[in-house]
Amino acid sequence: MTTRVGVVTFPGSLDDRDAQRAVRLAGAEPVALWHRDKDLHQVDAVVLPGGFSYGDYLRCGAISRFSPVMDTIIEQAKLGMPVLGICNGFQVLCESHLLPGALTRNDSLHFICRDQKLRIENASTAWTGDYTQGQEIVVPLKNGEGRFVADEHVLDALEAEGRIVARYLDVNPNGSYRDIAGISNAAGNVVGLMPHPEHAIEPLTGPTTEGLGFFTSVLKQLVSA
């Protein structure tokens, strides 16, 4: 049976079709999930895609976090289901308190779209198993509110527990504390990532194909689980 990976569409989600394409290219079956529907339709993992859900009004991810589908996702994530939040999805995960910290306005105060070099700091989460620790990749980054902030002791704990999944290299594009581009929960099944691996899966349309690993990783993880 093929693995089913759900991709949630909130009102204002933009990269949902891109995430579905990435899931497909990785060899899984993408399943569209609707924000109003509590039912996850037997998916094995979930991607919360990028975009401007609810226009990013109030705070990014703040309104989406209260949608019916999130109730179920929060429940399942706590039981170990792999969940990847990309950009706006990362913001939703922080607002849902599945991940610590918050994402705030870029220090430049501008939206920034660039090809970003990252280092994979933890290759043992559900979404990074196909990378090697320390591997450097380039994927697009595009956000206006991507500056990861958290208390010093939270940051120290993230470092100590190996929960920093990826860091910005060369350029810190948004002022994130400690160059953090992505983090995971303690169990490693929930990952939030500010850059967009789903835009680096085809040589034709991406700067590289080095983003595909996130989507193939979760497949292996699910098969071996």
Binding site: G12, R17, R114, K142, T205
Partner: protein, 751 residues
């Protein structure tokens, strides 16, 4: 104020009416009375005044725009031509593409962020209204001098507004233009383009047919914004202290528009709509009168049912409001429930506000009383038409006589001087990298962007199975058009055409945005007439019809008009986007060829501006047959895998093209000045009809044979190599030095 009903208007024929304040001329007011056989009601007056404004009626430009239809080349690809919200072109495999460029100049000067944002919102709704999914946007921009303090106010706001709205809609920004010139100081130009894709059978038109069918207004609530904006914006000139009348500014809600897009596409996919129109300038006045006049019958609207944001609005205000993010659809009664259900799914407010009648009148009611009873065509299409006087400006001859000859303008001669000139041009605001701006735009969303900034054209894949794609480029050189508006308009088309071809796509069709000064100035009107004539003639020769566009007049500060600025967008199609040609010199060892002829043509050039602040002489000559041949060679070479890089030559000439292609590809080049050519002319002339290409050695013979057989001059000028750009016998400059000069310029000016 008591309600001015139709009955009341009949009984009080002599009541005073504010037609002049609404921008109508005395004879126009008299025409309205004649059409109606009585005085108009307040609501009718509001509708006529906005719909007969310059912006909506094209009263000054119409007589010249006619040529685009009359001279249109026969073109099998045209599915919908001028007259609809946007033209539609067949691109094969059952796909149709629609695209259009529009202006939002004046609002963007007053409120840069919201003005530019709502400019994107408006053009996207036009494309959506054709039945298409919007797939990309572009933004041709013009600003005042780069170092002027007001540019620091205007530019960041406009860029943030375009990004803020477009990014939030999820539309990749695949290109545009940024030009600085002090002529745009009090009149920045914000043109916005959108491309949309649909299947042939999904094309929708703005028409209301079939008595009993329902009129549904959906999207945002109607508020008091932008009331009168249309007539005021398009008719008033701006002085240095700001607009004479401050129009209400509209605030955009891109989130609402995103919902409107998804909701509308779902409605289209279930075939629930007979006719559809977006609400833009003139709001409901425009939508109801245009829908009704394009349909078979009349229309009856209950204005009370319009969802309001402000319950105190009068019927006149509701009819004139330009609240954003609204659409109007004609739906069969049996499909209304499903229509409303889909709107509910997307949290979009939708209301039946009226129905199509079998009469011939547009009738609008308020609290049960009739406030409008008009023949819709008279509102939408029978506006006044002006034959504005025009005459060649008295200063034109002197301007053209002031050619940038070597005697008049000191030219660089030594290698060192040439190198300094190259760095100065590459680092001037107009030629410098625009990354600071374009990095604020999402170019990746949707995952189909094949080419985007800083490539020659923007290209998107429209079918992931077959790899069919389309590309668009926009161009417009106001300096050339000032020197000669006829040639300037043709050069704009030629450059956009060349850019599309350089990427490997076949040019199919044109949209244009004509930005000019006041039509009441005969000099400006002459520029306008010449530009239209030039563009129409050139489109005929290149076989690319104008499918639609927009006119923006009154772009002037006091007596001073902007340079005539026809912005031309060319749409092309490519069968396999994998065959696209990028601009970067990516492979060492490939040979560089210069295609086309280079003459001593520096009138209006980037060099003359940067080195001498000079504008005079004649623009480069246009040879449209040569442009077509060059295009055919570039397309064939791309299709057959003969070239790996191509960059068209325009502002800054070969020098600038080499800088850009080297930096993009991360490789240097060794270049030889061809025998008989002056090194300065070789590097900086802006002769049209040229491109530089990089060719793998294995393809060189085949490529040369093709050019020889077709009669296109192709001169081998060098090789991709190393990490310096070397002009042999003249100078070398390292990539690091080039990058230093070319990047960081815009941010330094705005910081």
């Amino acid at each position: 104020m008591s309600l001015d009903t139709v009955k009341n208007a009949e009984q009080t024929p002599d009541a005073e009416q504010p037609w002049a304040e609404l921008g109508l001329k005395e004879d126009e007011y008299a025409r309205i009375r004649e059409i109606l056989g009585r005085r108009p009601t307040g609501a009718e007056l509001a509708m006529y005044s906005v719909m007969w404004s310059e912006h909506c009626s094209y009263k000054s430009s119409k007589v010249h725009l006619k040529q685009f239809g009359e001279k249109a080349p026969a073109n099998d690809a045209m599915l919908v031509g001028i007259g609809e919200n946007a033209g539609v072109v067949d691109v094969g495999q059952g796909y149709a593409v629609t695209f259009k460029v529009e202006s939002h100049n004046h609002p963007s000067y007053i409120e840069p962020y919201q003005g530019a944002a709502t400019g994107i919102g408006g053009i996207v709704r036009d494309i959506l209204a054709m039945g298409a999914r919007p797939v990309a946007v572009m933004d041709p921009l013009r600003f005042g001098a780069a170092d002027h303090p007001d540019t620091r106010r205007v530019l960041p706001g406009i860029v943030a507004g375009i990004g803020g709205y477009g990014n939030c809609l999820g539309l990749p920004n695949i290109g545009g233009e940024v030009v600085f010139d002090s002529c745009y100081q009090g009149n920045p130009l914000v043109n916005a383009l959108c491309v949309g894709v649909m299947k042939h059978e999904d094309i929708h038109l703005a028409q209301a047919s079939g008595a009993g069918n329902k009129v549904i207004l959906y999207g945002a609530r109607t508020g008091g914004d932008g009331i009168g904006g249309v007539s005021v914006l398009a008719s008033e000139t701006f002085d240095a202290t700001g607009p004479a009348k401050r129009p209400a500014v509209q605030v955009g809600d891109p989130f609402q528009e995103k919902l409107l897009i998804e909701c509308t596409l779902e409605i289209f996919s279930e075939k629930l709509v007979l006719g559809i129109q977006d609400l833009g300038g003139a709001g409901l006045s425009c939508a109801t009168s245009e829908l009704a006049s394009a349909g078979s019958g009349g229309m009856r609207v209950e204005l009370d049912t319009v969802p309001l944001r402000d319950s105190s609005l009068s019927p006149e205000e509701i009819l004139m409001s330009e609240s954003q993010e609204r659409m109007c659809a004609i739906v069969e009664p049996g499909k209304v429930d499903r229509f409303l259900e889909i709107c509910e799914k997307w949290d979009v407010i939708a209301t039946v506000i009226g129905e199509v009648t079998d009469g011939e009148r547009l009738e609008i009611f308020w609290h049960g009383e009739q406030v409008v009873d008009v023949p819709p065509r008279t509102v939408a299409h029978d506006g006044p038409v002006y034959q504005r006087p025009y005459a060649r400006p008295s200063w034109q001859d002197a301007l053209q006589a002031d050619a940038p000859t070597a005697e008049r303008l000191q030219r660089p001669v030594t290698g060192e001087e040439l190198k300094a000139a190259l760095l100065a041009v590459a680092g001037s605001p107009n030629q410098a990298s625009k990354a600071w701006i374009t990095d604020q735009y999402d170019r990746y969303v949707i995952g189909n962007t094949v080419l985007a900034t800083p490539e020659d054209s923007g290209m998107v894949r429209i079918d992931e199975e077959t790899n069919l794609g389309v590309s668009v480029a926009t161009d417009g050189n106001g300096r050339f058009a000032k020197l000669d508006p006829y040639t300037g308009a043709q050069l704009a088309l030629a450059e956009a055409y060349r850019n599309v071809a350089a990427g490997g796509a076949k040019p199919l069709a044109v949209s244009d945005c004509l930005n000019f000064g006041s039509p009441e100035d005969p000099d400006v009107m002459w520029q306008f007439a010449e530009a239209c004539r030039g563009l129409a003639d050139a489109c005929q020769i290149l076989g690319t019809p104008v499918t639609g566009g927009n006119v923006s007049l009154y772009n002037q500060t006091g007596e001073t008009a902007i340079h005539p600025t026809p912005v031309v967008a060319v749409l092309g199609v490519i069968d396999d986007v994998n065959r696209r040609t990028p601009i970067g010199f990516a492979e060492e060892g490939q040979h560089l060829y210069l295609l086309g002829d280079t003459a001593d043509e520096l009138g209006g050039s980037a060099w003359s501006e940067v080195a001498h602040g000079h504008l005079g002489g004649l623009p480069p000559k246009v040879d449209l047959e040569r442009e077509r041949l060059l295009g055919e060679i570039l397309i064939a070479a791309s299709r057959d895998g003969m070239i790996d890089a191509a960059h068209d030559l325009s502002d800054g000439g070969l020098a600038q093209a080499l800088v850009e292609s080297c930096l993009k590809g991360g490789n240097g080049a060794r270049v030889i000045v061809p025998a008989g050519l002056d090194p300065f002319v070789f590097l900086f002339s802006e002769s049209a009809g040229r491109a530089v290409v990089a060719i793998p050695r294995s393809e060189e013979l085949r490529f040369n044979d093709m050019c020889g057989a077709r009669g296109l001059p192709a001169t081998r000028i060098g090789v991709v190599d190393g990490d310096v750009l070397e002009i042999q016998g003249q100078f070398t400059v390292s990539l690091a030095e080039l990058k230093d000069a070319h990047t960081g310029v815009i941010e330094a000016l705005l910081a």
